[in-house]
Amino acid sequence: MSRERYEYAASRSTARPANQRMVVALLVLTGLTLLALSRAQHPTLVNLRLQMLDLLRPAMQVASQPVTATRKLAATTGEVLDTAEQNRRLRAENETLRHWQSVAQAMKAENDALRKLMGYRPLEHASYVTARVIGQSPASFGQSLTINAGAAEGVAPLQPVTDAYGLVGRTIEVAPHSSRVMLLSDAGSRVPVVMGQSRQRAILMGTGEELLRLSFLSSETTPLKLGEPVVTTQEGELIPGGIAVGSVFKKDKAGYLIKPMRPLAQAEYLRVIIRTQKPEAPTTTPQAPPPIAATIPVR
């Protein structure tokens, strides 16, 4: 008798009302439809995601303020405590940079003269949009950042994004006032690069972790030097050539691992390189971009 009562009670308590079952069925159907559309990269779904990204931008901007303020406070405190040592280091660095500035100026003049002589036409001009990082996906699933600049500021999908040190990634989704940047470390990231010294070409692949992997090296037999710089190449014309990416860090069974210039998700401000059409007439060497701190927008 007691067993029957238990079974009766159990059957009563597990039964969901019909309307609730209907809601659950509807939600499951919606979820499956969204998954199917995600797989097909349906434009409606991409637009929906972008609109939501723009909608969440103010909330994310507000939420990121305390973190930014804390970071700045910690950095300022550290700098104040370290002023004397930093001053000494900067003086030494300044002297080295002055030397290199004079070398660079001489080389630029020579380069300009040679380009004029050859009638060289640069592929294109570039302008820059500097934006603040307002969002970051957790490290375990996909590595992306959200920045507060979008189509209204001239950003378009697949544009290269740099920080003060070098290439960080590329824009993948662009909303009117915000964009998502896929970091070089994302498992789906592929960027053509060239070695700074041996000039070997390769494809730089994200591993989902901090280090990046080189694949399709143009010459598998010639070994690379550890510490050799890696820069972007113009191949594919998606990314301008010569942007620093990192350096050869170590070699394992699967190949070479590259260490980025600094941890990719650390930048507070990023710069999107916006490429324009080919110039009409031969021009001189493009000017170096202004320092990233000088182009921070007031937003």
């Binding site: 969204l34 375990s140 699933f141 996909g142």
Partner: protein, 167 residues
């Protein structure tokens, strides 16, 4: 029991709103070394608020929160939503709700569910985006969420005590 008043309903919305704020906070940029310490807010809330204060965490809300997490975390749209929905259905199942469970049992159960959820999300991401993030990172993410469980559980328990009783 009387029908809940508007005041009751607003009170019950508080945990959900707090969870949404936490979700947005979990997506703000942290430095590289602290990034992996971010827990999976939606699933933790589903496992704690959903189990202890079910009125604040209806299954439809779990689905919507999962959808928002999909957009913020750049995972396939619908993946976390569906997994949150199934998780919510499981924790709110009347048989499970009526079962008396000690905290260590709840924690062990949450660890299994979080691990399973992360693995399923990893598989779904692989199928839909044609690329799988490294499994090690995913397992670390699940482990971090498991470690955060007691904090979420304690907070949800306090919230459930503050809120008026409701069947």
């Amino acid at each position: 029991m009387n029908a809940p008043t508007l005041y009751d309903r607003l009170l019950y919305a508080v945990p959900a709103l707090l969870a949404l704020m936490l979700l947005i906070l979990s997506a703000i940029p942290l430095s590289w070394q602290y990034g992996p310490l971010t827990p999976h807010v939606v699933w933790l809330c589903t496992l704690t608020i959903g189990a202890l204060v079910p009125a604040s965490w209806p299954v439809a809300f779990a689905f919507a929160a999962g959808l928002l997490a999909d957009m913020l975390y750049d995972t396939p749209l619908g993946a976390q939503a569906l997994l949150s929905l199934f998780l919510s259905l499981y924790v709110q199942h009347p048989l499970r709700r009526n079962a008396h469970q000690l905290f260590p049992m709840r924690w062990a159960e949450a660890a299994l569910l979080l691990m399973l959820g992360h693995l399923l999300l990893w598989v779904l991401t692989g199928i839909i985006f044609h690329q799988r993030p490294p499994l090690r990172g995913v397992l670390i993410g699940a482990g971090v969420s498991v470690l955060w469980f007691p904090v979420f559980y304690a907070a949800s328990r306090q919230l459930s005590k503050l809120l008026p009783a409701r069947s």
